[in-house]
């Protein structure tokens, strides 16, 4: 079931991001003044973005490869890579939030009758951050001797589900960035 949901979710997010990118490119109202997003981030902030992006991509790849392609839980070397990237993801994500939260506050320019691309990007940002909480917490809690088999199963499902949401949000965020 999760395999199907994940395939639909990630596929939908990719399609949505492509559509968003296309709309931004064609519509003059969606174009923002100034340099493209990629050129605007520099220095430490840029590094944090890159590290966060790469760790999310790495974690998503190692996690969903097992779920989507092999149809089973993540194990062996992929799991080692997954676990190695996990603390990097945690730290870089926290740094991203600290440095960029102000930038992603909603304002009136995000809303012109409908939510503009910039607004959707902010939605993706906050969804990503909100989803990161259960993603991290579910794994950390499962490592503590507090949860039995039923709890472990619950935490595992929470981890998978919230990871899917986080990944979709990350795809949307990147797709809507210009």
């Amino acid at each position: 079931m999760f395999r199907i949901l994940a395939a639909i979710g990630i596929g939908g997010a990719l399609a949505g991001a492509a559509a968003g990118y296309y709309v931004q490119k064609r519509s003059p109202t969606e174009k923002r003044p100034g340099k493209p997003f990629a050129n605007r981030i520099q220095g430490l902030e840029g590094l944090i973005y890159i590290v966060t992006g790469l760790s999310i991509f790495g974690l998503a790849f190692t996690g969903f490869w097992a779920a989507l392609i092999r149809g089973q839980a993540n194990t062996r070397y992929l799991l080692v890579v997954h676990c190695t990237l996990a603390p990097i993801f945690c730290l870089s994500l926290a740094a991203t939030l600290v440095f960029c939260a102000q930038r992603y506050k909603f304002d009136k320019s995000d809303w012109r009758g409908v939510l503009r691309a910039s607004g959707w990007r902010k939605v993706c940002f906050w969804v990503l951050m909100a989803a990161a909480l259960p993603v991290i917490l579910s794994m950390v809690l499962s490592m503590l001797p507090l949860w039995g088999t039923v709890g472990q199963e619950f935490l595992y499902q929470v981890h998978r589900g919230s990871t899917l949401i986080l990944t979709m949000a990350a795809i949307g965020f990147i797709g809507l960035s210009r």
């Binding site: 839980a73 062996r76 926290a94 951050m129 909480l133 991290i136 950390v140 490592m143 001797p145 088999t149």
Partner: protein
């Protein structure tokens, strides 16, 4: 019965009458016997019984008169058949290893033909478990199976078919059939002595086994000393002083005036009866400190072996392992496994409707154990057997090391070296603890297929080279030199021109190359034979990984991955070889080193994770409140205090 009443008893006559006996038995089987069903009363009926024996095949059994001279040994086949269908019982797990149509189930403890002189450790089983050899393939007739292993057999099986084979044919009339000894398990009387039964088997007094072992009678004499033509029923004086005809002397106080005897027969067989064949002695523990060892936690809690290992009238024991329903005949009760009691599963493997396991078993919490462990490990991996250490320990078992017999138990027979716990991957793909032996034997190889040679044949051909005189060191391997191997192989090669003589030991196959030099190579037949450990189950606090102790297994020198398994061999220069546990499991050592090393950073990961969660939560809360404030401002302007 008086001797004069019996005509002369000829072997041929008996054999001819066997067919008639079979027909009579099958007629009897058609009707349900008194003890085959269940009358609904849970009380075990009092077994005050007349003892019976069948003197002539095809005739009705006769009642035992203990005062008769010579007294006859009673037959449980006929005594118990008054109420129970013997043929049903005969199909049971303890009596059917020679029947090819029975599904073998998972690997179990095999018989081991061990011989120090020829440096042989050969796993034998009629069940055809991979890694074992069928008795007939290695020259063991049913008669020789009983002679070698009958000491720990409950009768039936090979004991009843040996007379159909050439090698045992002439002994049938003297020794009689080795019938199922029902009392071996079901007699709760503490006088039941299986060591005495073993003694009678070694003396070839098969038909006297139940009487002697039950404590109801004393049996003297040895059928093995008698010629095949001797009529044991006549009780005639032997031809020479070396012959000692068996005779039975009943304890008269046990008979009532109608010559009936009370047997304390129970359905719930006492553990002591099981232990005679199913025990494990830890050699690493000083025998004087054996009392410090804990028993299986279930036994300590008051359960009996048969509370889980149950059976019906067919005596097809529940072995109680996962997957038994797919590999046994007939399908067994799934809920009588670890999971059935502790994780309540019904007989279809699904969670039971009540959600309650059997026998009031506690439901395990498995706190901090990720789910993947239940896919990769059997329950026993964490809960059963000796707690794994840096190197596997040696154990002895009754059936392999003849434990429990008079005069033998004090001696330190080490061979064969049985190691435990060795973790291997089972047919279900899960890792489980096992006992393990490394096979060692001489054989003939043809097209890469190896047929082990009869130990006696090897002794006959190469006894001198194998240094019989000094090889009497029976407690451990005598060293086998390459010169001895090189000298023995050509002699054994003479046995078959189309095959090549080889020696298997320590995971290697030894053969002679074109130059006549010894070469060693890997071979499938040299792989160790292992069988799962189910008991003793340790208390939950003594289980691996209890309460989130991940490092019980996940550290860079954990026993379950990096414990050492000795490669047992008598070959000089090869002693002391070791294999890592991950090799036995078919696992990747590099991966497990890397993965287990990552547990050093686990505390760091937890700290980072929790801290980051705190930071994210705080910022999200801050912005959520700010957003909420914004939303509220839509409904009314913010009131500020005037200066």
């Amino acid at each position: 019965m008086q001797a004069s009443r019996r005509p002369i008893h000829f072997a041929g006559l008996v054999l001819l009458a066997l067919a008639a006996a079979g027909a009579a038995q099958s007629q009897k089987q058609e009707k349900e016997m008194l003890g085959d069903g269940n009358d609904g009363n849970r009380a075990v009926p009092v077994h005050l019984m007349e003892l019976l024996v069948q003197v002539f095949a095809g005739e009705d059994p006769e009642k035992i008169d203990p005062l008769e001279e010579p007294a006859l040994p009673f037959s449980l086949r006929h005594t118990c058949s008054e109420c129970h269908t013997y043929e049903f019982v005969q199909s049971g797990w303890h009596f059917n290893s020679s029947q090819a149509e029975i599904k073998p189930g998972r690997r179990g403890e095999c018989w081991v033909w061990a011989d120090a002189v020829t440096r042989t450790v050969l796993p034998i089983s009629g069940r055809g478990w991979p890694g074992t050899y069928q008795p007939q393939k290695v020259g063991l007739s049913a008669w020789r199976m009983i002679k070698l292993f009958g000491r720990h057999m409950p009768g039936g099986d090979y004991g009843q078919i040996y007379g159909e084979q050439l090698e045992g044919l002439d002994r049938l009339t003297v020794s009689g059939e080795f019938e199922i000894n029902c009392l071996a398990c079901h007699n709760a009387d503490r006088r039941q002595d299986q060591s005495e039964a073993a003694l009678q088997v070694m003396r070839e007094n098969f038909r006297w086994v139940p009487a002697a072992a039950s404590g109801l009678a004393q049996v003297t004499g040895m059928a093995s000393t008698l010629p095949a033509a001797y009529d044991v029923f006549m009780g005639l004086p032997p031809d020479n002083t070396g012959q000692q005809p068996p005779s039975v002397h009943y304890d008269m106080s046990r008979f009532d005036r109608e010559n009936r005897v009370f047997f304390d027969i129970v359905r719930r067989v006492p553990n002591n009866r099981c232990y005679f064949c199913h025990s494990t002695q830890v050699l690493g523990m000083d025998q004087f400190n054996e009392w410090r060892r804990d028993e299986d936690v279930h036994i300590t809690a008051g359960l009996m072996c048969v509370d889980c290992h149950r059976h019906g009238v067919d005596h097809m024991m529940v072995r109680g392992y996962e997957g038994e329903e797919r590999s046994s005949t007939p399908p067994t009760v799934l809920s009588l496994t670890c999971r059935g009691c502790h994780l309540p599963e019904d007989d279809n493997g699904a969670e039971s409707q009540t959600g309650i396991g059997r026998l009031g078993a506690p439901r395990p919490r498995h706190r901090g154990i990720p789910l993947v462990h239940f896919d990769k490990l059997t329950c026993t991996a964490c809960h059963s057997g000796l707690r794994p250490g840096d190197q596997t320990g040696l154990v002895r078992t009754p059936r392999i090391h003849r434990l429990g017999l008079h005069g033998v138990h004090r001696q330190d027979y080490m061979l064969p070296h049985v190691q435990t716990p060795v973790f291997v991957r089972n047919s279900e793909g899960k890792i489980e603890p096992t006992k393990l032996i490394w096979p060692a034997f001489w054989g003939l190889m043809k097209d890469q297929e190896i047929t082990p040679l009869d130990v006696e044949v090897v002794k006959e051909k190469a006894g001198e080279i194998l240094n019989t005189e000094t090889a009497e060191r029976r407690d451990d391997w005598p060293v086998l030199t390459e010169e001895q191997i090189a000298g023995t192989l050509p002699l054994l090669g003479e046995l078959d021109d189309h095959s090549e003589a080889v020696y298997i030991a320590g995971g290697k196959l030894y053969r002679l190359d074109e130059r006549g030099e010894i070469v060693a190579a890997e071979h499938e037949a040299a792989r160790p034979y292992s069988w799962p450990v189910a008991h003793d189950v340790r208390g939950v606090q003594q289980s691996l990984g209890y309460n989130g102790r991940c490092t019980d297994c996940h550290n860079t020198d954990s026993a379950i991955f990096f414990g050492k398994v000795a490669v047992d061999t008598p070959v000089q220069g090869q002693e002391g070889g070791l294999k890592y546990m991950y090799e036995m499991e078919g696992e990747d050592g590099t991966y497990w080193r890397m993965f287990n090393a990552s547990f050093v950073f686990r505390s760091f990961l937890k700290t980072v994770g929790l801290t980051v969660c705190g930071v994210i939560s705080a910022i999200l809360l801050l912005f959520a409140l700010a957003g909420l404030k914004r939303v509220l401002s839509i409904f009314g302007p913010e009131v500020t205090e005037e200066k």
